[in-house]
Amino acid sequence: MNLILRAQVAAAAHDIVPHWPLESFIAVNPLASHETRPFETATTPGVVLTRSRDAYLADVERGRIVDADLEAALAERVPELAGHLTLGGKTASAVGVAVLDMKSTSWSSPAATAPSAPWLDEYLAAWVSSYLNPDPLWAMPHTQRGFYQAWRILARRDPSLPRTVRRTAAELPAEPDAALAWALVKLGVAAESVTETLRTELHYLPGWVGQIKWRAEKIGDIDLLSYLSVRLTVRAVLGLSLSPSSPTPPVADEAPPTLRHRAEHVARSIGGSRVDREEIAAVIRVLATHPVADHALTWQKAYELHYRAALVHSVRDTDPFTPRPHLQLVMCIDPRSEGIRRHLENLPEAETFGFAGFFGVPVRFSRYLARGAVNSLPALLTPRHHLTEHPTDSAKAKDHVMRGRSRDALRQSTHQADSGTGTPFAFAEVTGWLYGAISVLRTLTPTLQARIQRFLTPSTATLPSNVTITDSFTLEERAAMAETAVRMMGVTQFAPLVVLAGHGSESVNNLYQSALDCGACGGNPGGANARASAAIFNDPDVRALLVPRGIVIPSDSFFIAAEHNTVTDAVTLLDRHLIPESHVDAAGTFDRAQRTAAGLLLRERARDLPGASPRSPGRVQGRAHDWAEVYPELGLAGNAAMIIGPRQMTRGVNLDRRVFLHSYQAELDLEGAALETIMTAPLVVAQWINHQYYFSALNPASLGAGTKTIHNAIGTIGVLAGHTGDLRRGLPWQSVGLGDRLFHEPMRLTVIIQAPLDSIGRIVSRNQVLRNLLDNDWITLTARNDPAAAWHRYTPYGWTAASPPLKGT
């Protein structure tokens, strides 16, 4: 073991963002390692941070950015811009001069190209993918010895390498540490530049490298040490010298105009030909504070401020507490919940809340007697509790297992017939006719096909069962989870029926289906967590423990779980067998209300969904079963803000499904403990999602996954675009755009909180993650003490009054 070298590898890999597999797609900020530095310095090869100048100018054309936005943006970014100038007898403000300069000065921000070593990258990608091959038909030999060893043994037989190289490979050290050390010496890397060299090598194939980092921590079958050993050994053996560590700087299309040129242009356009030299000098002094290199971020800021101002403006003053509602609905903070909540609130006696979609119950969940489990909890947590189901009807359970076994036998029999060497030929001849028929059904009548399939193979979810909360958690843990949820949401009274609705997305033939599921549940549907939470709240022992803690749940309050299908917008009640006789009517009322709400929401969504029409909402629902559909739903596209505060702030306001909503009542959380939890967990998850969309939209080729239509899956690990190459990261183009137009507006998350500014400030100051995000402008924070107070904006130097609401569309 070479400990120092291992440490150097770990140091080189420090900034690599782990890349989750497709089956549990976790939205991450692909530039997370830059969060400790200001946003605008996060430049990475192959990546742009803002849109193009033309795009912003087009926004000016259509009123999406108005002068006031630019002025506000300049005021935030260049606070020293103040005062007035006289140009040719006319007076102009310094800010106005800078705005004019922004509109007239052109810039381009070509990204440096991402590093690539075509042959070596393809070679490594082929080896890594073959080594990690999930469900292989022929597993790579020697994988149990690790990646480097497997490669070393097989490379001796690799006909694509020259004989001399194969002979050298046979004599390589057996251990990856030793091989890497040997290769570094052979390549002439000085001891002090080892870490830097390794870091440079990890910039190639970022998709695979991120996946390896994830696997090293979560599965452990490969690590970056063995990857680097192979990579550098190949370099050494083939005599491929290391590339220079600094990527080639981007070449701008045209040299930016000089300061004098800009100043003259601006001065003339204001003062005409009568401006004199001194006036131009004054303009130069003004424009020098805002160099062309800063323009892009100022444009982006203006673009965001326009939205923020309108959003802040739309927030209402809080009404006093209402009488006891008939129905309460708790949904995930996910922006898609906002739509269904808004439409359900047409019922005046209904009250809705936003809470993290795992309902504060972090579990590893498996269905009744299932062979696998999912981590249904935020990626910020490690699973410690296993939750499963216990069927209520043993006869049905037996039948269920029987069906499962038959299905398994069928799967296994087709799999074996298809995956042998001698059997696929006749298999294709026999089953081809059946497949053809299925193809026709799936393409022409997807809904009918889904119905037939559901009839033949009913889903596991239909087995009536209870979740095993008492086995998974102690009574004290359950009471603590219930208390936390109540305090975080600020619930003071409980309705007779409380619906806890998780969410999931139903689509077929969609490798990115997990990206549409609940982010707080690790990219899984949130139904199981909702069921667990409802069971906890209904538990009399838990309720008894809550009373001394000041939370009194009336005995006529019944909690029930539900799942919101974000494609069809149906909110289906789960565990219906648990509903007591007394609450059957209330459940029926809820069913009717959610159907009405879903109908309204589908029409609303159909306006944005490519190829859909508000006149046929049924077609929108049909996308859940359509194998040809690449836009089953728009997911979290459009997400731009997060509001932490009571629902009264936004009830009745159409937020266009763009805002994460977390319920919170500052009056009930005097110590700020609940707020700290909200700001360090749901807020962080929302920020990950927001930046995932932001960078996937701006960099579809490097940080996004590109178009779905050429995706080629490697099991459930990830996708390639085409037959070879790097694993694609981020979201596919179909999540953010249509044709060559973006429908996701890339904006950094605007956070709005209604809570005492002091307590917010305290929380920020003791959490490095929040300091990083806020001080470095990765997200922004606007807050007010209470409904009567004015809005303030967080800055690293303290709170300042937020700019007044702006006009414009």
């Binding site: 091959n133 097989l154 062979r371 393409t443 040809a628 559909e629 390639l720 675009a721």
Partner: protein, 513 residues
């Protein structure tokens, strides 16, 4: 007049569809509308073809001909079966692509070139004479390359176009030589019926050369060794392109071999060559498929192996079996390609299945013997019922079916050893075996077999040994280690980049310390 209408109805719809799509797109209509229109038109073409096929099968209308001089378009059984297949799949895939390529900037390009390809392919299968076939063949090749250019801006797509283009240009140039010889010898176009006599009129060395050269384009189009280096590099095109290609283009090799059978089949040496090329590809591609980690890569090599099987069947003179395989495989593979994104959901569904119970030690041998018995019994019974007389070649091919049935039932029983599984499995195998043999019988009756001097059936031993070897090596982790490593490294090699692609390769051979 009716003949003209019928032939036009079968062959012209893709042309109309492509033409309209191009015109509409130029006149500013949305790609979506153009795609919808084209798919509908081709769908009508498919419906028309089905009607014609039913009419001719019912004897209302015998083979339809349209003749221009010695060139002709004919709708015989083969032409009708394949036209139905190509038009049906093309329409289906185009309907799929309406949604799949929604908003895509290259949608219209896809629609136009897909219809061009469909048009040429239908023309090819309906061609009644050599010259027309040759024109349609080359046209289909060009259309395929255009289709691959759907995402031309991608480097991988350009690489695929280059590889495909080079192989097609070479193979199709080779194709034109025997075609020209035949045309010159006949002094005009040669209808299929006269092909045998025209060939016979040539001196033997020339006929042998013609036969050998005619095989080349067939192998290239079906991605057979030694022209296999293009198909795996065509994945940078949208999924519907792959589906169309794997369902309607790569199988053209068999069509050429069958249409030119009078010129090729009399030469046993050439037929053995065809057989061996198919057999070699079958073994090679089967092995490579096993090591590929990517879902579409597996499908590509699976297609190559299946095409190897089809070409091999042609080499054996089992043309009806080859066409049967062609049709079934087209349906099979297009479905798998279109559904190439199902993996994640499938994984989620499998996760919820119950764990497998521990098996009793008797289960495996009982399962194996039961499944072998059932499979053999079902097939023998079906065979005896429909076609008692059987050639050695088709008996050999039927052995593959028996093996598959046995493996499928055995796997099911090994997974869940219950009476229910056994009965369901046996019943399904019975139904499938009878259905299969009956359908095969229909195909054989429809496509009257040409009497040929084919490759001897015992040659089937060659690919079988190869397949058994690959199977043994891939399933035995602890035996034949060196041989296994060698074979594994060789089958992995197609995925590795060529070292010649390196900018500077200076191999060093320093011994590490």
């Amino acid at each position: 007049m009716l003949d003209w209408l019928v032939v036009g109805g079968v062959t012209l719809t893709p042309w109309i569809a492509g033409f309209c799509a191009a015109i509409f797109a130029r006149s500013g209509m949305s790609g979506d509308t153009a795609a919808r229109l084209a798919a509908t038109v081709v769908g009508f073409g498919f419906a028309g073809t089905v009607t014609v096929a039913i009419a001719s099968a019912a004897g209302v209308h015998r083979t339809t001909w349209v003749v221009f001089g010695s060139t002709s378009v004919q709708l015989d059984a083969l032409a009708l079966i394949l036209s139905m297949l190509v038009l049906g799949l093309s329409a289906l895939i185009q309907v799929f692509a309406i949604r799949y390529l929604r908003g895509d900037r290259r949608q219209v390009w896809f629609v136009v070139s897909a219809n061009l390809l469909t048009g040429f392919t239908v023309l090819m299968v309906c061609a009644g004479s050599v010259a027309l076939f040759a024109v349609a063949w080359v046209g289909a090749g060009v259309a395929l390359v255009l289709l691959l250019a759907t995402y031309r801006p991608l480097a991988q797509a350009r690489d695929g176009i280059r590889r495909t283009g080079i192989r097609f240009v070479i193979a199709d140039t080779v194709f034109l030589i025997p075609v020209l010889i035949l045309l010159v010898a006949a002094g005009g176009d040669v209808p299929w019926a006269r092909l045998g006599s025209v060939t016979d009129s040539l001196p033997l060395p020339l006929t042998l050369t013609c036969a050998a050269l005619l095989v080349v384009p067939a192998l290239a189009r079906s991605s057979q060794i030694p022209f296999h280096g293009w198909l795996p590099f065509t994945l940078a095109a949208p999924t519907p392109v792959s589906a169309l290609m794997h369902a309607g283009v790569v199988n053209a090799g068999a069509i050429l071999l069958i249409r030119f059978a009078p010129a090729i089949a009399p030469h046993q040496a050439v037929m053995i060559g065809v057989f061996l090329a198919g057999a070699a590809t079958l073994v090679y591609a089967s092995a490579v498929r096993l090591v590929r980690p990517d879902v579409k890569g597996r499908l590509v090599y699976s297609t190559m192996a299946q095409m190897g099987f089809m070409i091999l069947a042609c080499g054996l003179g089992a043309y009806a079996a080859a066409i049967f395989h062609l049709v079934a495989h087209s349906l099979f593979k297009s479905t798998l390609f279109l559904g190439a994104g199902m993996g994640v959901r499938q994984h989620a569904v499998d996760r919820d299945l119950p764990p497998r119970p521990t098996r009793s030690p008797f289960a495996v041998p009982v399962a194996v013997s039961l499944s072998v018995l059932v499979a053999l019994a079902a097939l023998t019974a079906a065979k005896w019922m429909f076609s008692p007389t059987v050639s050695a070649a088709s008996a050999g091919l039927l052995a593959f079916v028996a093996l598959t049935a046995a493996v499928a039932l055995g796997a099911a029983l090994r997974t869940t050893f219950t009476l229910r599984t056994f009965l369901t499995g046996t019943a399904s195998i019975g139904v499938l075996a009878f259905g299969y043999v009956a359908l095969l019988h229909v195909f054989t009756a429809a496509l009257e077999p040409a009497t040929t001097v084919a490759a001897p059936a015992w040659l089937l031993v060659v690919p079988v040994i190869g397949l058994v070897l690959v199977q043994l090596l891939s399933r035995n982790p602890n035996r034949f280690e060196t041989l296994r490593d060698v074979v594994y490294a060789r089958t992995m090699a197609p995925a590795l980049p060529r070292l010649s692609a390196l900018p500077r390769s200076s191999a060093t051979s320093g011994v590490p310390s």
